[in-house]
Symmetry: C2
Subunit: 254 residues, 2 copies
């Protein structure tokens, strides 16, 4: 099925699951929706931290125009979370009833896109092999703050051999709109990670002999900055329940 | 002299000329300063048109923190222009007397940076050879509008052989923060340019037999969008009188 067909089934609430593996080859995006009075600060936070927070589209209305043709931000992700002053106050299949004219939506690039390219190049992606969520860690690398938004960079980790890591750097360096190249490999302590087997988010994965952990900036970074900022109102996608775009992963290269 | 030393002399108004050729190897930037109530629209315009309007830094105060260490936006370019409702109302060596707490400054990447890399690779840059300003043209390619900002893409043109053009595409594709790869080569009419020998801005340059014109998105695009938006107040650098950063051109690669 095409992304438009899948979004139509999500809109009808026929599809309500997470979007993992759907529409292979097409980019899925993180979603953050904020009142307009916070939109400049958030866009500036993204501009200052472009690898952790790569903005694919900013929508000033309810419907997308660039990444998907007329998709409905309020209904086309399968599950949403609503936050008030940093506390989650609800999880919904659509947020039509909460929509307001002053909301600005941010679609943010997701590592699913570069993982597809890694797999294409024959680089195994451990958490996919093991059927888990990618391990994510809060580092000691501060983001550049902007207005109310601040926090440390969150990274995702994939173990691989040095030869695979070299190829992965080369591939992801060409994809800055979906986090780009790694920010570290090797000793986790160097970026403030005490125990690589105890991720702050997601699941631990096996690191085999001869493999090193490779760390990429992660889209949870802006979500963590959002939680720290505690705005009066915000909507995000629920974890794993992404917004599916009409744009192919391979088109997200500069 | 280092960029910091040159900026100190500009600040003292010892250096008052255009910055062409100063601090070889260091990036020079376009400057646009706007009241905060227009800053979101402008940053969004840049986000939607990243090659024409590649933002290097956004400063919410008078002093830079990223591209230059504590440089004074109000004094460290040698010449400024002030616009009110789209009309130029003054040209000044500094704008200290006009500074207001609500101003937000945008440093925008400049083609000087990629021209340095082209020259390094042995690709001649015609307008430098001929001692002229680069020819610039208003195309028929619309920018994605954002708020009050809209207009067509302005391009700069450099004539070269096909072999040079191929190398130039490859080099500039790696420099998206300073306009990136070309958007067209060959027939100027295809992008709405009636006569390549009559540029809308800058000077005509010689196109030799065997050469084709190659067109890059140009930093005049956001300036034209600014003029079209006619905001109550705006400051820009005067043409050629750029803001010199502490960042090397070679560091502007992703």
């Amino acid at each position: 099925m095409s992304p438009a067909e899948v979004r139509a089934l999500i809109r009808k609430e026929v599809i309500t699951t997470n979007t993992s593996g759907m529409c292979a080859g097409y980019a899925q995006a993180n979603l953050i929706v904020l009142p307009r009075d916070l939109a400049f600060d958030f866009l500036l936070f993204a501009q200052k931290n472009p690898y952790a927070c790569p903005v694919l589209e900013v929508c000033e209305g309810r419907y997308t125009t660039e990444m998907a043709d007329g998709a409905d931000i309020a209904r086309d992700s399968p599950r949403y979370r609503v936050y008030e002053y940093g506390e989650m106050t609800g999880e919904y299949r659509n947020v039509e009833h909460l929509w307001r004219d002053d909301l600005v939506s941010f679609l943010i690039g997701c590592s699913f896109s570069f993982e597809a390219e890694l797999l294409e190049a024959g680089i195994p992606v451990r958490q996919i092999e093991e059927g888990r969520n990618v391990p994510m860690y809060i580092t000691n690398i501060p983001c550049r703050p902007a207005g109310v938004f601040h926090g440390n960079t969150v990274v995702s980790m994939r173990p691989m051999t040095p030869a695979q890591a070299i190829l992965a750097v080369s591939i992801t360096a060409d994809m800055p709109r979906v986090h780009g190249k790694p920010i570290h490999f090797g000793d986790p302590a160097e970026i403030g990670i005490a125990d690589v087997m105890k991720p702050d988010f997601g699941d631990a994965v096996t690191i085999r002999p001869g493999e090193i952990p490779v760390f990429w900036p992660c889209g949870v970074t802006p979500q963590a900055a959002l939680m720290a900022a505690k705005p009066p109102f915000a909507i995000t996608h629920a974890p794993g329940h992404m917004f599916i775009t009409d744009v192919k992963n391979s088109a997200l290269k500069y």
